[in-house]
Symmetry: C2
Subunit: 304 residues, 2 copies
């Protein structure tokens, strides 16, 4: 029997002393010039392989969690997807918890196939420790993933609230109850978070939520609706999320959230402040940016 996801996550956050998560979203045009010189665009997968392994090596001892976004691998079809799972496996070998950012969402047999494909360890190899999901179709779409959580000590993060310009089109529409669509989704996620086997000994659930706080009051409202779910908070850094908005995603005890930064860390060598490294030492810049991410998040306690 595998250890519960929330307990593993909680231990990893305590061990590394940070709730920072590094997002691996490789884009050929943003790779270091030295890598693009070595691998032409038609061998982007070869470049992504070197890039991914070096980024993981640079950050693995600093952060408890990495998030790998399959969308950036799928344009390369079979070889891209194989590399995605190779990097998932490598991160796990390095002792880092891996979230597969896949945002799948379907029902019945189809959802079972996705759960087997995207979350489960199987004959095909290890899967990530957790995945992101869409909950629009309700429990029928989520329960096959919860079965894998139970059987293999894994977790899920369901899309609840995003802060993109068009999020208001659906998520913030008012319900007759006075609530709104995102808050209703939060209620569903809260139900799932307390289902059989989902709560860990640490007091958090294997069922978490993707919550990008648009403002502090909204983050607090969702925190109240989801007391035992870990919030995966995207866009710290590159998307300009402020420290106060992020702080509102944590519980009063300082736990309950993971804060992700992708481009701000993995493409750090593009920024003047990190560009002092030699061309081939770009992963030193990545490591410095990761250290700075951890340092910024240490301020969250004082911002609460």
């Amino acid at each position: 029997m595998s250890q519960h996801f929330a307990d593993r996550l909680s231990a990893a956050i305590a061990k590394k002393g940070t709730a920072a998560c590094v997002g691996l979203d490789p884009v050929y045009g943003n790779l270091p010039a030295s890598l693009r010189a070595e691998f032409a665009q038609h061998d982007a997968v070869g470049a992504f392989r070197v890039f991914g392994h070096r980024v993981l090596a640079a950050v693995a001892d600093l952060v408890p969690v990495v998030k790998i976004n399959i969308a950036f691998f799928e344009p390369y079809r079979g070889p891209g997807v194989e590399l995605y799972f190779e990097l998932v496996a490598r991160a796990r070998e390095l002792g880092v918890i891996v979230i597969g950012d896949v945002k799948r969402g379907d029902i019945g047999h189809t959802s079972m196939a996705y759960a087997r494909a995207q979350l489960a360890d199987s004959d095909a190899g290890p899967g990530p420790d957790a995945v992101t999901l869409s909950g629009y179709l309700g429990s029928d779409g989520i329960s096959p993933f919860m079965e894998v959580c139970r059987a293999q000590g894994k977790g899920i993060f369901v899309l609840v609230h995003t802060s993109n310009a068009s999020a208001d089109e659906l998520q913030h529409v008012e319900l007759s109850s006075g609530s709104n669509v995102a808050a209703r989704m939060a209620e569903l996620v809260n139900d799932w978070s307390h289902a059989d086997g989902m709560m860990g000994k640490c007091g958090m659930s294997a069922v978490g939520a993707v919550v990008a706080p648009g403002d502090v009051s909204r983050a607090r409202e969702l925190r109240g609706l989801l007391p035992d779910s870990v919030f995966l908070v995207p866009g710290f850094g590159a998307q300009g999320r402020g420290i106060e908005q992020v702080a509102a995603c944590f519980r009063a005890d300082g736990g309950g959230a993971l804060v992700n930064s992708s481009r701000g860390v993995i493409f750090a060598y593009e920024k003047t402040e990190y560009a002092q490294q030699a061309a081939d030492d770009w992963d030193v810049a990545v490591r410095h940016a990761c250290e700075d991410l951890v340092g910024s998040l240490a301020q969250v306690g004082s911002a609460k």
Copy 2:
């Protein structure tokens, strides 16, 4: 400049004389015994390849559209995804319009990566003619796919209404406007369906909707909210959708919907009524079931 998706779809439906769509959702345990004898479970991809090509050959002259569900290929990782795109390309070669059932949904850069990966024809090879999407994140998630629709004459079908047991948990929650979540999603899809370049000469849009009618009145309500969107109606046959519910998804002129059956056709040889064929002639059973699907749908006109 590629021809508009809605016009191609409309011409294909007129040519084949039916709005039937066959869904290719391969599952190893449901394959014909002769195929399972030839390919062991560890070579499921080999079995799916033969199965997929023979199913496509059996139905290509009967139906205007096939829907291929990537979820059933993803458990086999790289080789599975490669086969998915091989079958997408083969269906297009056979002159059938292909919907990639992928239900992706993200925002910004990530959504652009998915649009490139799952819908566009690219250096990696041809993509499907259309894909299914989730719209929970609003326009930001959809617009990168609409760019591909414009540039390459492709289409999208956005999840609006499903009829699974848990659909009521979110989709049918009442809004303060008196409407409900699915109807609000329909309004968004209707806006997208009239965006620049989306309307075809035939009077239908490249932006369609996935609508599984729970009952006739709900189907009619959504039809009214989405006058120019093609409805992709899943679950005819296996999921027991009745002819009247399906009929309510069509426009008054008899157009505007595609009706999908997956297991009822592709696994037809499992049923007594089609089992008279020799073990190796299982694709004759598939063809007969497809003919029966087309025949059943011909009754839709009289059920309206």
